[in-house]
């Protein structure tokens, strides 16, 4: 199959307040994700990058109203699907890693249990086999002593370890075609951050996954991504290959963002 795996086409929308007022937040957002590539969606707080990504899985906050546009995944318009059809795609074909992994994991089940349950949901099989799969996934994301760790609860995981477990869940247990990462390393220490990004890229490249990385950290983008989509105030201001965006940015906002990201080194 050729062509982009995901196309967001003229997507617009906004939030309706309790008083009934409508505030537009997305204006004609269009970008597409090439198969097997790592695409970054960058922007600052309020740029609409997360709302757009959440819309792919129809996970926006209540109060969001679409006013126009389409999101096509592999040719299917996701926005026209009913709940059941959507469930067949969520997790199975598109999965997502959120910023705060410890909040994303269920605190009352052990980490291994959550992975195993998800595996069974998608693939069936015995509990024991699913748990084995879970431990194996934890091992693949380089969690030491995966057997012991699988029995632990999310609160016993450090931020970095929990994010590894989430990656195991989203990328290995779910075996999706498209992986959405919403600020996966924000809030982690730099060394952990670098480890997690490396792990993600290894997994993505070795499995031919399409990855969409939503981030505000251009440092991470420069090192890892093939394509970049720059968003500002609900609009896509520039798209292009990572190299072009970093070496020859066209849009003034992109230039400002880049300039702000690289602090000059003289301390004055």
């Amino acid at each position: 199959m050729n062509g982009p795996i995901l196309e967001i086409d003229g997507f617009s929308g906004g939030f309706v307040s309790r008083a009934g007022e409508f505030t537009p937040v997305l204006h004609d957002v269009s970008y597409s994700l090439e198969r097997g590539a790592v695409t970054a969606v960058v922007g600052e707080t309020g740029s609409g990058k997360s709302v757009t990504a959440l819309s792919v899985l129809q996970l926006q906050a209540p109060g969001f109203r679409r006013t126009g546009g389409q999101i096509r995944f592999d040719g299917t318009d996701l926005l026209s699907l009913d709940a059941q059809a959507l469930r067949a795609i969520r997790g199975r074909r598109i999965s997502m890693v959120f910023q705060d992994a410890r909040a994303a994991l269920n605190p009352v089940f052990s980490v291994g249990q959550q992975l195993a349950d998800t595996w069974r949901l998608h693939n069936g099989g015995s509990r024991a086999a699913a748990m084995e799969k879970a431990v194996d996934a934890l091992r693949q994301v380089q969690i030491p002593e995966p057997e012991r760790r699988a029995r632990q609860y999310p609160h016993e995981f450090s931020g970095g370890m929990a994010q590894r477990a989430m990656i195991a869940l989203a990328a290995l247990i779910c075996t999706p075609e498209l992986l959405l990462l919403d600020e996966p390393t924000t809030g982690l220490d730099v060394t952990t951050q670098a480890d997690i990004m490396e792990l993600l890229l290894d997994l993505a490249r070795s499995r031919g996954l399409t990855v969409c990385l939503i981030t505000h950290d251009l440092g991470v983008v420069a090192e890892t991504c093939d394509h970049v989509v720059v968003m500002n105030r609900g609009r896509v201001v520039e798209t292009g290959s990572a190299e072009r965006i970093f070496t020859a940015p066209q849009d003034p906002y992109t230039r400002r963002l880049l300039a702000a990201s690289v602090l000059t080194e003289d301390a004055g």
Partner: protein, 581 residues
Amino acid sequence: MKTYPANYPILRVRGLRKLFPVGRGQKLHAIDGVDFDLHPGRTLALVGESGSGKSTVARCLVRLIEPTEGEVVLHGNDVGRLDARQLSGMYRSLQMVFQDPNASLNPRMTVRQVLDEPLRLHLSLSAADRAARISELLRLVGLGDEHLGRYPHELSGGQRQRIGIARAISINPEVVLLDEPTASLDVSVRGQVLELLREIQRELNLAYLFISHDLQVVRHVADDVAVMYLGKIVEQGPVREIFEHPRHPYTRALMSAAPVARWGAKRERVRLAGEISTPIDPPAACRLALSMPAASWRRVGSSRWRSWQRCQDAAIFERAAACPEATAARTRSACAVCIRPSPMRAALAACFRGRTHFPGPDWKSDKCPVRPMSQAGQAVSEGGRGAGGRGAAAGLDPLAGGDVEEVQRVLVWEEPQLGPELCGGGQGGDQFLAVDLAMDQPLRAKLLDIEDLHRRGAGAPGLGGTQAFRADAQDRGPVGRARELDLGIAEHRLPAADSRVDQVHRGRADEAGDEGRGRAVVELQRLADLLHLAAVQHDQPVGQRHRLELVMGDIDRSGAEPVLQLLDLAAHLHAQLGVEI
């Protein structure tokens, strides 16, 4: 703008410690002996990852939490001794900007009220003067009077942080503690806030303590940097120095992990393998030691030479920073070497690779830091050769023939410039760092020349430790004497009056038990708070296993190569002596 005498440390912190009890008698060492100075008009950045204790330092400084011990001297006043009323006075000169402006501003107070409060509390100004001051402050942080009536939720993140800064500087402090002031801000705003901070610093001649984990920001704003790891400052110096020549393995790992938003900017990661160490009851010496995974040791050891090589890259730093407590606890055995100054390390490694020649200082020169040992040492090594057959058979005996002398040269090291922690309070003069690559073989006999130490001890006053060597050595032949030292003593000068060192030596001499000797070494190291030196080997009474311990010093700028060589040496020992690892 206030002026101060040149080089005036406005805030001096010495030996600051904060332990939190975590139950069952355990203590979490949040800060474990931190020293630094702040100077007017300068910025000291405290960097480290979460859990390194950097924020705890700030909180101890303003006594939001009480430090367990240590001294914080602000303007000549010991902050730790102030009562509540004096403390309030202290806050006039010491203010803090917090990380999260959403949390640090009262949501029910307008900007005017937020800024008015410190003025009312600390300065006796009329209402009109206060209003004028508030307007001035807003202007200073780039806001205007139109913001006066607003509540925090009506401001953007950057504006809120500006209010936080305005509040901190409102009463003309001299020192401002900035705890991750830009961590919650977007990059475009971050630059503005940093610029603002810098302007204010210039204008008011403020001393900043800038706490951050963002190395890019630190490089941008700081004059000096202190790197914290598990409650200790592992490296401290001018910003350029630290960024361009990081010395401590942890600093290197940290630097190499920071991403750069520039196309083609490649970084070479330095990794610390293993899990994050725990700050709960850490070992006395090296913090990184805990990061050392015992598993990799065993894996390395069991398949010997080849796997040593394979594992070198991954595990260098953990091994390098290992200290005896940690290795003893986590491995059945380990290997050995010590060494702080890099020429020595390289030389030693070169010797053990069987090279007959290695580049190095001019041995004959008086200024040469490495001195040859005496003839007595030669005799010892002659005596030991016969029994060194195993090594020779392996074709690896590095001490055969011409090498002997070279090895010996390396073993006595005089280095007056070593850090204060090594001087142990001694004043100047020569220090001895003798390394004994101790083995359960006559090899060790070749490696230590008691007579030489002894002679030097007599020649150099204050070498308390060597007296003990003399006592040990008296009634024995050269080989015997050397054997007596087989546990490998890293000797350095402690104050002559320090009887603890003597005790250690005596303890070692008296106790036939290997465990005792091992303890003595560990104790000696603990006393000196050093992880820099000493090759240690002692027998484990249980099961008669050999135990070699690796005690390598901080890796300095010479990089990984000497360490690799030392690992070769370790492998060599392993292969020759069949030491179980």
